[in-house]
Symmetry: C2
Subunit: 456 residues, 2 copies
């Protein structure tokens, strides 16, 4: 595993996950076999066990309830930087020892940081589970944070930022679109951090961050795989259970977004761009902030409008009108605070970006004005739920669902009841949500445009 | 004085002041008569005395080095809210007593809050100076912050926000333009606060803010008028000098702005708007963050480009082309952190907003490409310095210059040497600054547009 190479892809996994909360019990047949257990260790660490006996492997994840949106002002990037530091040495193991132990038994491991959480995982033969717990429990509290380690790894994340963000016009644009959509809520700050703040991150910052957030009572252990709950509990008590709890953290109350009154645009023209594209975003409630049924409605609205090849946007713009090479919609519901709903598109052939944008706006207006039929909604529910069945077939996806939900204010029960709540969404709710949230005069649009050489 | 009525106008005085640091010694003849003294009391309170014997009056100001940009996350509006609370009762004086004492002797008083400072002032007969000091010193530490006082005054500032911001499309737009220009630096947060955060401000917040920032070692006393430095010193020691210093505050290091890579727009269309208008802004260094000579150059660039009826924008768009009813440029140099440079315009007659915008862009490009002549620059320096002479003729303006400069990292010497630094600015510096800072593809523009009734 090369930390530089793998870490950033992982960093945005949280966003990918957010595209839909995938239910544990979407397929009732499989659900009946899957008896999910959850309990709390004496020191406050939450544990979820998801048995899956199809193969003798286990996915072991530790989720810390801290992400970039929890960072102190001026210290952007420290959550992700800290994720890197967790791969350094501890008082018991040299740097690289944990990684090698995983590789030697044919497993794989990595970590990712998002706005609301930071997670570490290993997928290994099931009989190596306790060893993973022992390593993971060790680095929860025994990391050695020397000035040298900090300086070296800071160079790594700075280089990561340069190569993945600063050299990519699309990534640069996304960053500024985000910071334009969110004017108060900390999701406006990039997960990787602003360069000038990353450069100043130091040992004192890292130690304070570690001591505050890396404690068993701020973590969720998720184990999926060829395991039994009782055995997991015993192993967890023997490893994590020995760690003293940290001081209780205050509730995660962050600045919230004021009402948006304007239409905002952010434009980047760059020589490296060949096909123009745009994405338009709105603030929307998340599963954790929504009124009952509202987040489920947003998930279905995204599915109907732009959730795949059967969606209205794809059918209208790509199949029927042949004006777009790509188009779609997405909703990131699994967030602690209010989240965003996005539509996007890029023209094809002789079509202009403006045409694509107008066609997308027309589809949104059509839902807001005329609503959707019961038939269309029910088909969308089926497609949506079917997609989740594919997802839950992957052990790590299941672990991700539970970890991300529990780290953003949800419960095991929320996940289990989710298919029923999706089933209850009505056509009227979809129409109301489109009319209420997808208002053109209160949107934020990013334009990525080609630029002739030498232009400005 | 009605606090509700007067307080908000005052709140933006800081911005007005920022349009130019007005020098103490611009007119050397007057400067020779004006012997400015500055010293520090034993408890760390800075004092500046500006004798002005033309009339038997004195302006007494206390500047606290705290403004909205120093507020804790999620507590926006507390600096301005606290300014209101300072007019409530203390352990020694009932609410309203201070105001009445000023009114009874024919004086006037008020206060204002800006991003970097909060200031309180009284203009009174010079023989009432010590009494003012006594009142002002009293409320620096003896304010009674009860839940009742907090609740009542919170309603006042909430109503102030509703009437002055939420009911005014231009003010709403300005707020969101600001939060789009600044994506990390706290100037993105409105001085009055975001509604949903103002609603939650409480006694605990207010007490913590008071105890942290309202101390003699975080304040600057400025006295201008029919006074002598020695007498002021004696009175200041007898009043302010008795207050124990607070704990030293850490340096005012705030999150700074990342490099801007995009062109951003913010649009508000409203039925109440009759003439469309726009304003375009850029991040620019302030007197406190600039390289030597750069802020002075920005001041002169604003003067040449759009500083009044002799400016290029006015002459070209209003006088020659008859396409604009208003146009101009401004630079707010007196800020602790990086600041903004603004151009604006509104069309007249048959002209469109787009025409006005293009004409302004052409004038900016002309300076960036061709520069300015020595003659034009020298005339601008003269106009600019002359404007400051009118300003310094007002006693309160002088006090404002010293207070705002000292509260944003400047010194008395900076003010005294400022005319010489302005004199040294070269045509080449003006051209370089325009080319470097006023780049269209890295700008933020606000559009205020009319809206037909029933539109969206």
């Amino acid at each position: 595993m090369t930390p530089t190479g793998n870490r950033l892809c992982a960093m945005f996994l949280g966003v990918w996950l957010g595209l839909g909360v995938i239910p544990a019990a979407a397929d009732t047949q499989v659900a009946a076999e899957t008896k999910i257990s959850s309990f709390t260790l004496g020191n406050g660490m939450e544990v979820v066990v998801i048995p899956d006996h199809r193969a003798p492997i286990a996915t072991h994840m530790v989720w810390y309830k801290v992400g970039s949106a929890d960072e102190p002002p001026g210290k952007s990037g420290i959550a992700h930087f800290f994720e890197h530091l967790m791969f350094k040495g501890t008082t018991n193991h040299a740097a690289g020892e944990f990684d090698r132990a995983v590789a030697e038994i044919g497993g794989n491991n990595n970590a990712f940081t998002s706005y609301d959480y930071t997670a570490y995982f290993e997928t290994v033969p099931a009989d190596a589970l306790e060893r993973m717990m022992s390593f993971e429990a060790d680095r929860m509290r025994n990391l050695v944070l020397s000035d040298e380690v900090i300086a070296t790894e800071r160079d790594v994340v700075l280089e990561e930022r340069r190569s993945r963000i600063d050299n990519d016009p699309g990534a640069l644009l996304d960053e500024e679109v985000n910071a334009t959509l969110w004017q108060n809520q900390p999701y406006r700050i990039p997960v990787i951090g602003w360069m000038q703040e990353m450069e100043l991150l130091n040992r004192t910052d890292a130690q304070a961050f570690y001591d505050r957030y890396y404690t068993p009572n701020n973590a969720v252990l998720v184990v999926a795989g060829d395991v039994e709950a009782d055995a997991v509990k015993t192993m967890a008590e023997r490893t994590y259970g020995r760690i003293a709890p940290g001081p209780d953290l205050p509730p995660r109350e962050r600045p919230v977004e004021p009402e948006q009154n304007t239409r905002r645009t952010v434009t980047l023209a760059d020589e490296r761009v060949s096909v123009p594209s745009f994405s338009m975003q709105w603030v929307a409630p998340s599963y954790n902030t929504a009124q009952p049924g509202e987040a489920e409605t947003m998930d279905l609205l995204a599915e109907i409008l732009g959730g795949g090849v059967r969606s209205r946007l794809y059918q209208e713009l790509v199949v029927r009108k042949h004006i777009a090479v790509s188009t779609g919609a997405s909703y990131s519901g699994t967030m602690l605070d209010d989240t965003s709903f996005t539509v996007y598109g890029a023209p094809v052939g002789q079509a202009s970006l403006e045409e694509v944008e107008k066609a997308i706006a027309a589809e949104i207006a059509r839902i807001a004005d005329e609503g959707v039929s019961t038939d269309e909604l029910e088909k969308a529910k089926k497609r949506f739920v079917r997609a989740t069945i594919f997802a839950r077939d992957r052990q790590s996806a299941m672990a991700n669902i539970f970890g991300s939900t529990l780290a953003t204010g949800g419960s095991v029960r929320d996940i289990q009841e989710w298919p029923d709540r999706i089933a209850k969404v009505t056509p009227k709710q979809v129409k109301t949500a489109a009319a209420r949230y997808l208002v053109p005069s209160r949107s934020t649009t990013g334009y990525l445009l080609p630029l002739a050489k030498g232009g400005n």
